[in-house]
């Protein structure tokens, strides 16, 4: 009898163990299964989320510090999306004795403080390797939504955190790409303007051009492998297309200006403004600088192209009606339609990766503000107000956030806000003045 009972117990344990193991490696559930996010304004009702410190798995030296820092990075990265309300760790009711990171969560402790989502985990630090286990729980439904285990070098913590955050956002919104994206921008100091890049959240600003002259208009290629930009290295505005890792590339150095590059989504080709024929017009070029065709044909200024995500339409700035306005060209039919009628000076269009809207910068009463308008021309919405000059908007790859430049603090700085204009905050501040940010698409190889 005891033998049978023992066998029975062992079986139960084994099944339990297998169940536990498989639950850790279950592929992510289908997108948007959880309807927390209100599509009409996802940022109005922020989801309360609790992220207590990770559990130090073995007690090796430095593990505690790592446990704290990983939880902190998780918290900051998720807060950046503006979907969440981060609950104050001081309010957490944690039973230090219970192993709540290994499936024994007391959900009442979390719903009691208002948390709807909970992230727990543990971290093991051995030599220079770390092993991180992270789980996302729905506290009201009392179940685990995501369970992942990651292995890597200790230096990879940020990358691991971002992988997990990507999973979280994918489950909640069906969107991807934010956490692996990067932002390029201009920074001016002492009359010189160089191109810099940084992570999506403003971390790790890195100088990309180092030629001690004026560099403008950075634009990421769709795969993030190339940066196109205008540079005065040869004394005039030439267009450079450089491979980000290998720094090799092409120059388009025609007579006149060679500027405002805009990559065609999913293609190694770009639109750019060239004035070698005597007038600034927009041309379609290959990634190696060969002209494919001329896209605008209008005596006057045609500049600042931006593509719809399907590459079929191009919005651009033209002063053909007397002052700068935004127009949309259907590439197949050649038809050009005016998009902006409000205000006398509308520039800097940026097409949302979702394709439904464009952001742009419009001047009124002598100041610039960011506006959003539907691609058909309706639904004009002002996102900034009474905050200096706000220019050069660029969408995040999941179309949830907009990065732009603002002079609200005096010097021009890079700011980020949600696509609805909420949660406007400083992205980063380095010496000098920062302008003209461009948000890359999706995954960037770091």
């Amino acid at each position: 009898m005891t033998e049978r009972r023992r066998m029975y117990r062992i079986c139960v344990y084994l099944i339990g163990l297998v169940a536990l193991a498989t639950s850790l490696f279950v592929p992510t559930l289908g997108a948007q299964q959880y309807d927390y996010i209100d599509i009409s304004n996802p940022f109005l009702k922020k989801i309360p989320i609790a992220i207590p410190p990770l559990k130090a798995a073995t007690g090796n030296p430095g593990e505690d510090a790592l446990a704290g820092s990983v939880a902190d990075q998780l918290s900051k990265s998720l807060a950046f999306t503006a979907y969440f309300k981060m609950l104050d760790p001081d309010a957490f009711l944690i039973d230090q004795n219970s192993d709540w990171t290994a499936g024994g969560v007391n959900f009442k402790n979390w719903t009691a403080i208002g948390a709807e989502l909970l992230v727990t985990g543990s971290i093991k630090h051995q030599e220079s390797m770390i092993e991180v286990e992270l789980r996302l729980y729905d506290t009201f439904k009392e179940r685990m939504v995501i369970g992942k285990r990651y292995k890597g070098w200790a230096d990879d913590q940020r990358r691991i955190v971002h992988r997990f955050c990507s999973e979280v956002i994918y489950i909640l919104t069906g969107e991807q790409g934010l956490f692996e994206s990067k932002i390029a921008f201009e920074s001016k100091q002492k009359g010189k303007k160089e191109i810099f890049t940084c992570d999506f959240d403003g971390y790790r600003p890195t100088q990309f051009t180092k030629n001690n002259t004026i560099n403008l208009s950075p634009a990421w290629s769709s795969d993030g492998q190339y940066l196109a930009y205008t540079s005065y290295v040869r004394g005039k505005p030439d267009l450079y297309i450089k491979n980000v890792k290998e720094k090799r590339g092409t120059v388009i150095a025609k007579k006149g200006i060679n500027t405002t590059p805009a990559w065609v989504p999913g293609s190694f080709s770009l639109a750019a403004t060239l004035s070698f024929e005597g007038d600034p017009e927009i041309y379609l070029l290959t990634g190696t600088g060969k002209i494919i065709k001329k896209l605008t044909n209008n005596y006057g200024i045609d500049v600042s192209p931006t593509w719809s995500p399907d590459g079929k339409k191009m919005a651009f700035v033209s002063n053909r009606s007397g002052s700068p306005q935004i127009y949309v060209k259907d590439v197949a039919t050649g038809q050009v339609k005016r998009l902006t009628y409000d205000g006398k000076y509308n520039t800097s269009p940026s097409w949302s990766p979702k394709g439904d809207r464009l952001a742009y910068s419009g001047m009124h009463d002598g100041v610039f503000d960011i506006f959003v308008i539907r691609a058909e021309g309706s639904g004009l919405f002002q996102l900034t107000e009474n905050t200096g000059d706000n220019e050069s908007p660029s969408w995040s790859p999941d179309a949830s956030l907009i990065v732009f430049s603002s002079t609200r603090l005096g010097l021009s700085r890079i700011y980020v806000m949600t696509a609805f204009g909420t949660d406007q905050r400083l992205l980063l501040a380095i010496p000098g003045e920062q302008t003209n940010p461009d948000w890359s698409r999706g995954v960037i190889n770091k």
């Binding site: 004026i214 405002t260 004035s275 600034p280 700068p324 002598g366 302008t435």
Partner: protein, 190 residues
């Protein structure tokens, strides 16, 4: 009686005679030749006179030069003038106003008189508005000026244009006065 008559006659003759001799004697008194000191003084005066003449001559030359410059003559003053004088534009415009056209006419005259000189026209904008749009606007301004010069007979191959947009403002201040100065074309000689 006769004695008195002769006496009067004599007197009549003698007194004028005396007078005559004395005045004559006065007339014939000559100045003595100058001493060494006087000679130096004289040389000084002469030198001053020559210097004054030289100064007058130089002034005249300057005046002539100025005349030539006005009509587009060469020389250092002409080059400086060419590179110093800018033309200005209204906000968001690249058309040439009357005073801009006058300045360009002078520049054309200079280039005509100096067939070995080539020009670079820079297009600039004030800081308002998008950098990218302003780069194109500066390009339009420079080309506007270039076309005008071409119409006056200067070969297009002698003129290069460069736009700096709002990147290199002459005046880094804010406000209408500063901005007006920055909406310009500047000229350089190669």
């Amino acid at each position: 009686m006769h004695k008195k008559l002769w006496l009067c006659l004599a007197l009549l003759l003698v007194i004028p005679g005396l007078l005559f001799t004395t005045s004559c004697a006065k007339k014939t008194v000559k100045s003595e030749p100058a001493t060494k000191e006087d000679a130096a003084k004289k040389a000084e005066v002469e030198a001053a006179r020559q210097a004054e003449l030289e100064r007058q001559r130089k002034l005249q030359e300057e005046r002539l030069k100025a005349e030539r410059v006005k009509s587009g003559g060469g020389g250092g003053a002409g080059r400086a003038q060419f590179e110093k004088e800018n033309i200005y534009f209204e906000f968001d415009r690249s058309n040439l106003k009357m005073d801009a056209q006058d300045v360009l006419k002078q520049k054309a005259a200079f280039l005509k008189a100096n067939p070995n000189s080539n020009a670079i026209i820079q297009g600039h904008c004030d800081e308002r508005g998008t950098n990218e749009y302003n780069l194109a606007l500066g390009d339009r301004r420079a080309n506007s000026a270039k076309k005008f010069l071409e119409n006056l007979g200067i070969a297009g191959s002698r003129i290069k244009t460069v736009s700096f947009g709002e990147e290199r403002p002459l005046n880094t201040g804010k406000g209408d006065a500063a901005w007006a100065k920055n909406r310009n074309c500047q000229f350089r000689l190669q």
